[in-house]
Amino acid sequence: MAKLDFITPFYNEKHNQNTFVKKLDSLLASEDVDVRAIPFGSLHNPVALFDGYDHGSRNVRLLKTGTGVSLFELTYLYKENDKDRKAKGRFFVYEHPQYPSVYAAVTLEDSSFYLRGLLPFIQGQYPKIIQTFITHKKLRRLLEEFKTSNGFSELTIVRASQRFRIRETDERQKIVPVVSWPDMDLKEAFDWVYQNNGWFRSVKFEVKTPLSASASISLTRQGAVRMNHHCEKVFAGFVHPVFKTLHENIQIFGHRSRRDNVNLTAKPLTIDFGIEQFADVEENKRFIQAMQLMGTASTSVIHGNPYIHLTVIDYYDGSTFDLWVLSAHQLIIVPQMKGSIAAIKRLINHIYDTYAEGDIKDYEVAV
């Protein structure tokens, strides 16, 4: 007897944002497919942004629109064995029911479509589209909560890609990628990476309950997920926290441009490292070197010792910032005339990746 095809009806249906994830969950129970989702934020309506997109190697057309869920087809060119090839695949844009400006690109297609087509397409929309990132501390917490709240008896990391903020003898910082199969439990793996001044770029893990089949789930620092089961649980445990972070990013990073404020006032932010991060003056050099690694940017050192004052230009959209270190525990970021959400996000992401992670706050004067 021929196997029932659940995927075609799924594509044919006009979806609703309130039931979409539940239906994906049901689909995974019936089909041997993976669901991949890339959460993103945008002040532009992605349906309008994507429909009719035609930039040489990639073009997109809208196939269907439901309520808060739209289906697109992406055609893309790529090279394989020195030959030009063309491929296409479908993806949904899921609009978050509560958070405005927060979305996910969701696909049921294979890895090739995801890696050659969808992910580069979404990343290529920067700065109109931003992704966020999950800090090392938060990633650990999400994994622990995912295990306990869903009653999984085991959560085993089967593959991890980590980066280390290496401090070489010449003090030049370098981000070193490492791919490994740690064979460690959650606590041990996270402690080890943290102690080695690193962060997970992605983790792939398996979960099991006594009553259900094991599921394979991947999660990246940018909050992209891949799963073959438990779609609702993965959305609740990982994607929704990332949606929330995106929403918070848009709230806290928005309206920081001086030109948008009455009297051109500045609205600084801080990264609070929670420790005396800059207790040693040598740390200034390390921070400045980390900032000089920022791509598509200008970093000018106005003052480097004992306090730090840098001006940073984002060459994607022309945002500019003054960065100040005037106490041991925090970095102050002052967006200048233009300080877009995307540029603030990219700046902080760079600091977290290459230097250290902290908590982002509104700057308050401590007298």
């Binding site: 000089q292 050192v301 001006t311 102050i332």
Partner: protein
């Protein structure tokens, strides 16, 4: 031997220290220690133009004094005003010190131009804010000449300042002579006050020029980052612009003056009293910066009157280092010419 680049960095640091000292001192009057916020009813200004009284409109040499422009001014709601000068450095030649005191004595006058209804104020203090390294010598000089060549009828106070380059850097202010009329400020300054720099980081980031010529590289960086870049980034070429490519940005000298004035001078703190406030940066400073850009092939003049300039915007890894290098070449050439003069 020091590199010319280091000397430029030092000059930029001196310029910023003076600016930060002005901000710090003004805020003794502006900042409400109890409420922990800025007082709404204190007016501060920098470089304001005052008219002298008829008695002081002509110097002892017979020269006409049109206006005086103190480095700093404060007008609290219910107290005496303050006018002053800020000196990060003093010339080594002691005979030139009197010039500063003469300037201060020109503020000891029933000046017209206060941000009051009739432009007058019944009395005000006069302050000299000077760097700690010169404070003792200047105090001795003042005491030796006080009552002779140096005479004040209004309260005159000297305050030394120093930036303490600690892990939590701060400006230290301390009175060395005289008394301020505002007792709460005066009392604080007897033993000295440490003002952490982080308190004024927002002001430091929005006030980057005052009415004293900044180092050329510093001024060019301000123009490039805050006037040229926004125009370049509005073009469709900008996001994908490679390092060996350029975007031509045409703008007027007046636009540069206005945009830096509105965004990066004391104008933001003195907006409501703009009539007598100086236009900073001065047009001639911007002309010098533009000439430097033209000389170094970063720009060209559009018209023979030099009112419009076409800047060739490029994406430099470090805008400040790039322009310091350009200005350092000139400084090195100047040094060599001087050696062989």
């Amino acid at each position: 031997m020091k590199k010319p680049q280091d000397e430029i960095y030092n000059k930029i640091d001196d310029y910023e220290q003076t600016l930060h000292a002005i901000v710090g001192f003004m805020n003794f009057y502006r900042y409400d220690d109890d409420a922990r916020k800025m007082k709404e009813d204190v007016t501060v200004f920098q470089g304001r133009r005052f008219d002298p009284s008829p008695e002081k409109a002509v110097t002892e040499n017979g020269d006409k004094v049109t206006q005086v422009t103190p480095d700093l001014g404060v007008l609290p709601a219910s107290a005496e005003g303050v006018l002053g000068e800020v000196k990060k450095s003093f010339p080594a030649d002691e005979t030139r010190w009197m010039k500063t005191f003469k300037q201060l004595m020109s503020y000891d006058d029933n000046l017209d131009g206060w941000p009051t209804k009739d432009g007058k104020l019944s009395s005000h203090d006069i302050v000299l804010l000077l760097h700690q390294t010169r404070a003792a010598a200047i105090k001795r000089y003042y005491e030796a000449n006080s009552g002779k060549d140096i005479k004040f009828t209004r309260p005159f106070t000297m305050i030394q300042f120093n930036r303490a380059d600690e892990r939590r850097p701060y400006f230290f202010f301390q009175k060395t002579t005289g008394n301020l009329t505002d007792k709460s400020v005066d009392t604080k300054l007897i033993d000295g006050v440490s003002v952490p720099m982080e308190i004024f980081v927002t002001t430091y980031s929005t006030v980057k020029i005052y009415d004293s010529l900044p180092p050329l590289a510093y001024l060019i960086e301000l123009i490039w980052t805050n006037v040229v870049l926004p125009r370049a980034s509005d073009t469709s070429k900008f996001p994908a612009l490679r390092k060996n490519q350029k975007i031509e940005v045409t703008l007027s000298v007046d636009d540069i003056v206005n945009e830096l004035h509105n965004g990066f001078s004391f104008h933001g703190l003195s907006k409501d009293i703009a009539d007598r406030q100086p236009k900073v940066p001065k047009r001639e400073w911007i002309m010098s910066a533009c000439e430097k850009l033209v000389q170094s092939d970063e720009a060209s003049w559009v018209d023979t009157e030099k009112s419009q300039i076409k800047v060739y915007f490029r994406k430099y890894d470090s805008v400040m280092s790039h322009f310091i290098d350009i200005c350092a070449d000139e400084q090195e050439e100047d040094a060599q010419i001087t050696m062989f003069d």
